[in-house]
Assembly symmetry: C2
Homo-oligomer: 341 residues x 2
């Protein structure tokens, strides 16, 4: 039970050579004779030697660990991005430490402190919706730890970023709704400070403008979170307006589903009386009745690219501007919850 773990020393003793020789042999250094290499490797295999990563890290100052900071992992959205991270980073022997801020600034700060303590080599982060200061990001960046921001922008903090053209996604969705005959498009917007909220709201406003539809703040309700429950009350508020909206563009699919629920309860027909469009294209969305129209985002690609950019930074000597800013284009998927043009 609890068999002792083999170290270089054990191999050295067994073979009556020095530890240094063993180390070099296992690293396949040119200066070691083929003979001893063979002997050492054989013994290593026999004793089932595994290098102690802790010791290596202590020396290298590299832990091969990447911190991933997301608001939550429950949503298909972040889970898929994390898959992208994993698929890029694991083959290169990086380990991921996934942390959830739960949309809390305080928790996010603590997470960053912790990631500093465990000495991650780099960080992939999508800021919480409560985060407006980014000193905790800057702090690590100044220590030479590369930080790549994805999906949600860190306004005022410069670093590599992989984002989505939320403005465009929203604009297209709302423009479509108007083209399809809707006159009073309402918006279930996200939490106030979020970059994605902001950009989608801008897209919404500009789509109205383009179509000469007067902009009315009453038709915008902000949700506090991204779960179904968060959408119910705001959706009800919208439906109490007079005149009633004939379309709702929601910040994400969960909220759109809440809205659909509310609208159905009022015995209004979707999409004839009220059209609904969401954002994210969750796998469930096409199975709702009616199937939810939504804005698809290339989640997996976002993960892949962000991870690759981080890798570049890990290999770079210094961490200097100019930083990259990559913007993916989302795509409007029209299903049955909105009218055909």
């Amino acid at each position: 039970m609890e068999k002792k773990i083999t170290t270089l020393k054990d191999i050295a003793k067994e073979l009556k050579v020095s530890i240094a020789t063993v180390s070099r042999a296992l690293q396949n250094k040119a200066e070691i004779s083929v003979q001893t290499k063979r002997r050492v490797k054989a013994m290593a295999r026999k004793l089932n030697y595994q290098p102690n990563l802790l010791a290596q890290s202590l020396l290298n100052k590299r832990t091969n660990t990447i911190g991933v900071v997301v608001p939550e992992i429950k949503s298909h959205f972040f889970a898929s991005i994390i898959m992208g991270f994993k698929d890029v980073l694991r083959p290169l022997n990086y380990n991921l430490m996934v942390c959830q801020s739960e949309e809390s600034y305080k928790d996010e700060v603590k997470i960053f402190e912790n990631l500093l303590r465990v000495q991650v080599d780099g960080i992939l982060v999508s800021p919480s919706s409560a985060t407006t200061k980014f000193d905790h990001f800057l702090n690590l960046q100044k220590k030479g730890i590369p930080v790549v921001v994805f999906d949600r922008d860190s306004l005022g903090f410069e670093t590599d970023k992989v984002l989505v053209d939320d403005y465009m996604g929203a604009f297209q969705a709302v423009d479509y709704l108007i083209q399809s005959g809707c006159k009073r498009v309402a918006h279930l917007a996200g939490p106030h400070k979020l970059s994605t909220t902001k950009h989608r709201l801008e897209g919404y406003v500009d789509a109205l403008k383009k179509n000469n539809i007067p902009y009315d703040e009453a038709y915008i309700e902000h949700v506090k979170g991204f779960s179904h429950d968060d959408g119910l009350k705001p959706a009800k508020n919208l439906m109490k307006l007079n005149p009633q909206p004939d379309a709702i563009f929601a910040i994400n699919d969960c909220i759109a589903i809440s809205a659909m629920h509310v609208v159905k309860k009022l015995n209004l027909h979707i999409p004839d009386q009220v059209s609904i469009v969401g954002f994210d294209d969750e796998p469930h969305s096409k199975y709702f009745t009616p199937a939810l129209s939504t804005v698809w985002q290339p989640v997996y690609s976002i993960g892949i690219l962000a991870a690759k950019i981080l890798l570049k930074q890990l290999q770079a000597e210094t961490l200097e501007p100019p930083f990259r800013k990559e913007i993916f284009t989302p795509e409007l998927l029209i299903r049955a919850s909105s009218k055909k043009i």
Copy 2:
């Protein structure tokens, strides 16, 4: 840029005392004078000293890292359990390393090898559906690393386990369907070797028996995975049977949703012509049309308990039987996709 990290040595030099003194002062050892303690602590604060966890771990042989191995994190189910882990373990300063096997035995083995390399203190695992041998579990366990299995049982491998009474959940669901008047209840079962598949299937069979309904293998289709797409073909197969099923009990909500989709396409009424019951109670499920009846599991509690049991093992000196086996009871939620009794 990249300010040097403070070590004990730096503090010692600054204060002209030995490193040992500094170390002891920061640990608040009784043998150190109040005076020097104050000086050391002040300097530590001033230089923003953070102990190097790597060095500590190398010494202690404890990394304060827990490996979490799940098939995937996309589903609400595993994501919620992980929340439970986090809420128990983070306050005690454990870090989680979440790994996804993607239902692959090979990947799972690799993950375990990796977790051994990074020297996790313990492991929380829900085996992949392809896993039938558990040597990789045993391997770590023999090295003194506690392994707690949750949700899916590791048949033949003894350790602490936190499971759900899948048999009971399935039995109740199917019994209910029969009580509500269904005569030909079909089952969309899970991948073959999974413990949960097995137990739910047994529950299904026994519920038929209890009600004197002949058991017919044709009414059981196994899905290959747990996503929507995996359910479509099997559901279609079921609906081709003659006589057609008048109820479907599905291994999880996603599959149930596929089934609902298929049934609706055939212009059959749910629940009057075909009742459908799922498993898991995903947050979306109540928003489908009709709202999905399903078997709820106490996911968060599973996470909490499994983590607590792991903690106990981490504190224990040795890793010895008898192991605990905790079984949670699921709960049938009747919504609109099944008939009322």
